[in-house]
């Protein structure tokens, strides 16, 4: 005879609810960005902001978009942004001395580019709709990016 699962009526329940939220922020304090040589990152300027173009093509690792034409950055320069890509912009307040970036190497000889070395403030994201995939809460001025080739 086939047995069916039935409810056990009359029982009362005590629930223990555990929720773990996992946030995958690829841009954070002490996070590193990988640049693919030999080109430099794309900086986009307007009157108030400089923008660093970030690609949003991977969930756990972002790659900086770049172009050799827009480096070194200079005030007033405006580089075009291909809106058909998934790139997003990270805005850099003008007071950040990003135009004099620090370069160095880590222990393995990989080149580093310091995004900014000044006060400990948060880098806000801009208003471009494509920026929403990056959570600004985890951006600080002390982030570093790896650079794997000469500018």
């Amino acid at each position: 005879m086939k047995k069916f699962r039935t409810q056990r009526r009359g029982e009362t329940f005590s629930m223990s609810i555990n929720l773990q939220r996992h946030i995958f922020s690829t841009v954070g304090v002490d996070d590193w960005f990988k640049l693919t040589p030999p080109l430099a990152p794309l900086f986009v300027y307007n009157e108030d902001w400089a923008c660093l173009d970030l690609s949003a093509d991977a969930a756990l690792e972002r790659t900086l978009s770049y172009t050799s034409e827009s480096y070194p950055p200079s005030s007033g320069e405006i580089a075009s942004h291909n809106s058909t890509t998934s790139n997003s912009f990270m805005e850099i307040p003008p007071q950040v001395p990003f135009s004099s970036p620090a370069f160095g190497t880590d222990d393995s000889g990989q080149m580093l580019y310091r995004f900014s070395g000044e006060a400990d403030y948060e880098l806000p994201l801009g208003t471009d709709a494509s920026m929403t995939s990056i959570d600004p809460r985890y951006l600080t001025s002390n982030d570093w990016m790896t650079y794997q080739g000469p500018f």
Binding site: Q7, R9, T12, Q20, R21
Partner: protein, 222 residues
């Protein structure tokens, strides 16, 4: 239920259970029964914590069916799923109406590291019960609507028999909870808990009447 959600979140920053891009929630609900059985409900949520999130609904449905529902299936034919859904409604009701307390814990991880979320209220228990209640209501409505369409032209006899069988199962489930909450095993929860159980009882009463008025259900039942 919505009142309960409001009442339980008086001030401070309340955690939204809808996840954004690059966020994922892992729920682990451990249900300990008064007979010392342990039933686990575990699921991941990406997106809205609501019944219109199809992936979430499918995952919770499967686990509620496994842990709380009678194992009833319709025979092949039109709308056989109705019978499964009527039994599933009973499972949701079982989980919802028989719960007397819920504890909660929230942990926030950023890139694998535990980070304080900044929220002061989580309200996990109320939100989870709200989800159960919403899904219970959906399933009840689905079965009742199917049973009410008995005079629709072009429907097969199979459709009617499955729809009516589902209505009878649902009636049986709803009747049990209503009786049990009023003067049965679950009676203590009505006074112990709060107004939500009273509100659920009212909801059950409405659906009991609705179900009872179905000709076939009535025929089977009386």
């Amino acid at each position: 239920m919505h009142n309960q959600l409001r009442e339980k979140s008086p001030s401070g920053s309340i955690l939204s259970l809808d996840t954004q891009d690059m966020e994922s929630d892992t729920w682990d609900v451990v249900v300990l029964t008064s007979t010392n059985r342990k039933i686990n409900i575990s699921f991941e949520n990406k997106g809205a914590f609501a019944t219109w999130n199809a992936a979430l609904k499918a995952s919770v449905d499967e686990q509620i069916a496994r842990g709380f529902s009678a194992d009833l299936k319709g025979e092949d034919g039109d709308r056989q799923l109705l019978i499964t859904h009527a039994a599933l409604a009973g499972g949701y009701g079982h989980c919802l109406f028989s719960t007397k307390e819920a504890s909660e814990q929230f942990l926030n991880f950023v890139n694998g590291e535990s980070v304080y979320s900044g929220h002061t209220e989580y309200n996990l228990g109320a939100n989870f019960r709200c989800f159960l209640f919403s899904r219970f209501g959906e399933l009840v409505e689905e079965v009742l609507i199917a049973a009410r369409l008995r005079n629709t032209v072009g429907m097969s006899p199979n459709y009617y028999s499955n729809a009516y069988a589902a209505a009878v199962i649902l009636h049986h489930e709803v009747d049990y909870f209503q009786r049990s909450l009023r003067n049965g095993h679950l009676r203590s929860l009505v006074s112990e808990c709060n107004l939500s159980q009273q509100a659920l009882l009212t909801f059950l009463g409405l659906n009991f009447v609705s179900c009872k008025h179905l000709d076939v259900a009535h025929m089977y039942w009386t």
